[in-house]
């Protein structure tokens, strides 16, 4: 009869033991280094930004994904979040890991997106997917906040509304940045990212 008793408890336990999803490189991990080129041909090295004492935000990006359109065009979540901390030593980089032949790939498409979305930060191209896979990025968007210590301070969704059109109520990245810039740790360091799949090579 033991099993029957346990099964009746399982609903309550499910509620008590709910823990965050781990769907990308976890907070506390050392942020993998990269040196990627943006749509204007400029190099961006994580190592260099960290050496300059910057806090770095990475946003996995694909201009043809409706969730990216939501946060860049419908609601401008990303640029607004960046604008609020821009003067405090924060670098925001979009990274597009679409492979050749996949949606959202290429310099031309992304240069057009930077213009169309009025983006205030660059789009870096990662067509081999090496950087995306190093960060275990599966969604566009997935956002990482990397502290000055080079460790992932936050990984996950930009906010709490996984629909393709509605604005969220809580901006997790803004909260994480505020904590990191004040020398602390984010109260919420990890959430389940939502969005389209990153379009890696077959």
């Amino acid at each position: 009869m033991r099993r029957a008793t346990i099964l009746t408890l399982s609903g309550a336990l499910a509620l008590l033991l709910a823990v965050p999803a781990l769907a990308a490189l976890a907070p506390g991990a050392k942020a993998p280094d990269f040196d990627l080129v943006d749509t204007a041909g400029r190099h961006h090295s994580l190592q260099k930004y960290l050496a300059d004492g910057q806090v770095v935000v990475l946003e996995w990006f694909n201009p043809d994904c409706p969730f990216i359109v939501k946060h860049h065009k419908l609601h401008r979540t990303m640029d607004a979040t960046f604008a609020a901390v821009k003067e405090r030593g924060v670098v925001w980089l979009a990274i597009n890991s679409s492979a050749a032949g996949k949606s959202g790939h290429g310099v031309e498409r992304n240069a057009k997106a930077v213009e169309e979305f009025g983006m205030t930060f660059p789009v870096l191209l990662d067509p081999t997917g090496a950087t995306g896979k190093a960060y275990e990025a599966r969604n566009t968007p997935t956002v990482f906040v990397i502290g000055r210590d080079g460790l992932v301070a936050y990984a996950g969704a930009i906010d709490d509304d996984p629909s393709p059109q509605n604005a969220g109520k809580t901006n997790h990245v803004a909260a994480a940045l505020a904590a990191v810039l004040d020398g602390g740790k984010p109260a919420v360091a990890e959430t389940k990212p939502y969005g389209c799949s990153v379009k890696y090579a077959d």
Partner: protein, 287 residues
């Protein structure tokens, strides 16, 4: 009774649609409310020809999905978002939860695991008609349906559906009733006693169905009890060895759908609901 029925917004996300007129004429066997947006056509079906006061009405939300596209299940997926339905019913009617058929696994490059529907899927929902619904009247059901369809690209879609039904003392079956019954029979059920056994070894849980040709497990909770669902949660044969994430000396709980494929390829799907367990002790349960 008032001739004008007030809508009851059952979903917190339901837009306020204003007051609805439930009067007017409707013909039995009229066109099924259906709408297409992009790669998906959605229709609202009922199993009964009329609403009977105080009785259950069975609704089916049928999605027909173009080839190469998929919709998302409501359980765990790495990407996407499941369809949502904001239902507006006459005053005093009560909607039950959506019932979701078992999905299929969909793996994309980069170890991306989703649980999706392809081709056609019908979500079921029962509605209890208000006991005081006026006989001889007409009831209107309205819904705003939103979904995300993906192929190589993703595309959000939506539809406004509206169905009117006469309120009568008795209701015969519609032409869709048999199909909806088959969908109901195919929904995941609690497993028969003794079919599935569980054995813990440390943080690993072995789920066994002797004689099965293939097992697949689709997790329901986004709290991530599985370490590696892509590698662990589907295998040929009668056992799955699931590595569970340990937290404070415990693993689980594990909630989801277990689909058991026989040697003939036919699948039966069951609801699994295994409680959390301490890691240190090895426990064998079941037969």
């Amino acid at each position: 009774m008032p001739r004008r029925a007030r809508p009851l917004a059952l979903s917190l996300l339901a837009p306020l649609l204003g007051s609805l007129l439930a009067g007017g004429c409707t013909r039995e066997g009229g066109p099924t409310p259906a709408a297409r947006d992009g790669a998906v056509e959605v229709a609202l079906l009922t199993a009964e020809k009329a609403a009977v006061p105080g009785r259950i009405l069975t609704l089916g939300w049928r999605f027909r999905i173009d080839e190469g596209w998929h919709l998302y299940w409501h359980g765990v997926s790495d990407t996407g978002v499941p369809p949502s339905i904001a239902l507006t019913l006459p005053a005093g009617w009560e909607a039950g939860p959506l019932r979701w058929p078992a999905p299929v696994r969909h793996v994309s490059p980069g170890d991306i695991l989703d649980h999706v529907y392809v081709g056609e899927v019908v979500l079921l929902q029962t509605v209890r008609v208000a006991a005081d619904a006026p006989l001889g009247g007409v009831a209107e059901i309205r819904a705003r349906v939103d979904w995300l369809a993906c192929s190589e690209n993703c595309s959000p879609g939506s539809a406004e559906l509206r169905l009117t039904l006469p309120v009568e003392r008795h209701a015969g079956p519609t032409p869709d009733a048999d199909a909806l019954t088959r969908v109901f029979q195919g929904l995941p059920q609690p497993p028969p006693e003794g079919l599935v056994s569980f054995a813990f070894e440390g943080a690993d849980l072995t789920v066994a169905v002797p004689g099965a040709g293939r097992l697949e497990f689709y997790p329901l909770d986004s709290c991530g009890p599985l370490v590696a669902p892509l590698a662990d949660a589907a295998a040929d044969g009668g056992t799955l060895r699931l590595r569970l994430r340990e937290r404070d000396g415990r693993v689980g709980p594990l909630r989801g759908i277990l689909c058991v494929r026989g040697g003939d390829g036919a699948a039966r799907c069951y609801e699994l609901n295994h409680p959390a367990a301490p890691v240190a002790v090895s426990v064998k349960e079941g037969p």
